[in-house]
């Protein structure tokens, strides 16, 4: 191994420490089929932000049961309603979580479910309206695995 002088070693070590302290993307560890599922749902079209209120805990009590609530603004009439909502988790072994299908008879585009999150990651929701418009929202959920309670 090539010898490094003290100044170089210090810089290397310092740089390494800096890197670990830098905020990393929540899903730095796993690449799953999130992009593929999103592409299939959106047909390649870029969703806009807005209309969606996605409610998840900031820190999950336990990753095996995480409550999720979603509300999407829409008149929910036959002419204008939320048709389908894709929910994915970008850090799970498989990104798919659920696909919700609303109708004007839903009254409100609102639902609550409980999901499993394997690690700290982003949960992404994409709503497809009856006129084809796409909206998206995402939330980061911190998931820890405790050494005693699990």
């Amino acid at each position: 191994m090539k010898a490094v002088n003290r100044r170089q070693a210090f810089a290397l070590g310092g740089g390494f420490v800096m890197l670990t302290l830098m905020p990393m993307a929540a899903n730095a560890q796993v690449t799953n089929d999130a992009a593929k599922l999103i592409e299939k749902f959106t047909g390649g079209k870029q969703p806009s932000k807005g209309k969606i209120s996605l409610d998840l805990p900031e820190i999950a009590e336990n990753g095996n049961t995480v409550p999720l609530s979603i509300v999407i603004q829409s008149p929910m009439t036959a002419d204008s309603y939320v048709k389908e909502v894709l929910v994915i988790a970008d850090g799970n072994p498989n990104a798919g979580v659920a696909t919700l299908a609303f109708t004007p008879l839903s009254g409100k585009a609102e639902a609550s479910i409980r999901i499993r999150l394997a690690t700290t990651q982003n949960v992404v929701a994409i709503a497809k309206m009856s006129d084809g418009a796409l909206f998206t929202e995402q939330k980061t959920v911190k998931v820890t695995i405790g050494g005693c309670g699990g």
């Binding site: 095996n64 049961t65 995480v66 929910m76 988790a89 799970n92 072994p93 498989n94 798919g96 979580v97 659920a98 696909t99 919700l100 299908a101 609303f102 109708t103 004007p104 008879l105 839903s106 009254g107 409100k108 609102e110 639902a111 609550s112 479910i113 409980r114 999901i115 499993r116 999150l117």
Partner: protein, 108 residues
């Protein structure tokens, strides 16, 4: 034999009122990710679909993946225009279904 699902919704509603429906069903939702004591993968077995109809018309449905927690809880809304019957169906990977029905009347 499957356990009875737990469902909560009002017994009656005003015409045009939007009601909230809460459902809970007992199911292990085996993800297909777990291994048994011998290290073999435990095969996936989940409820993959839930549908709710009112008087035969679709109200709400969802496709579920293994990322849904065991004992799936599904809460959604329904706009009640007339008296009638809600029909709920949970479909298992193995083709079996769990069904339930709840009636609702219109307030005078």
């Amino acid at each position: 034999m499957a356990d009875k699902p737990r469902i909560k919704l009002p017994k009656e509603a005003a015409k045009g009122e939007i009601i909230q429906i809460k459902t809970l069903v007992s199911h292990i939702m085996e993800s297909g990710q777990r291994k048994d004591a011998q290290g073999k993968i435990i095969p996936r077995k989940i409820i993959n679909k839930f549908t709710c109809e009112f008087n035969g018309k679709p109200v709400f449905a969802c496709a579920l993946e293994p990322a849904i927690s065991a004992n799936p809880y599904i809460q959604f809304d329904a706009k009640v225009e007339e008296a009638g019957t809600f029909k709920f169906v949970w479909s298992d990977d193995d083709g079996t279904v769990i069904t339930a029905e709840e009636k609702i009347t219109i307030k005078a």
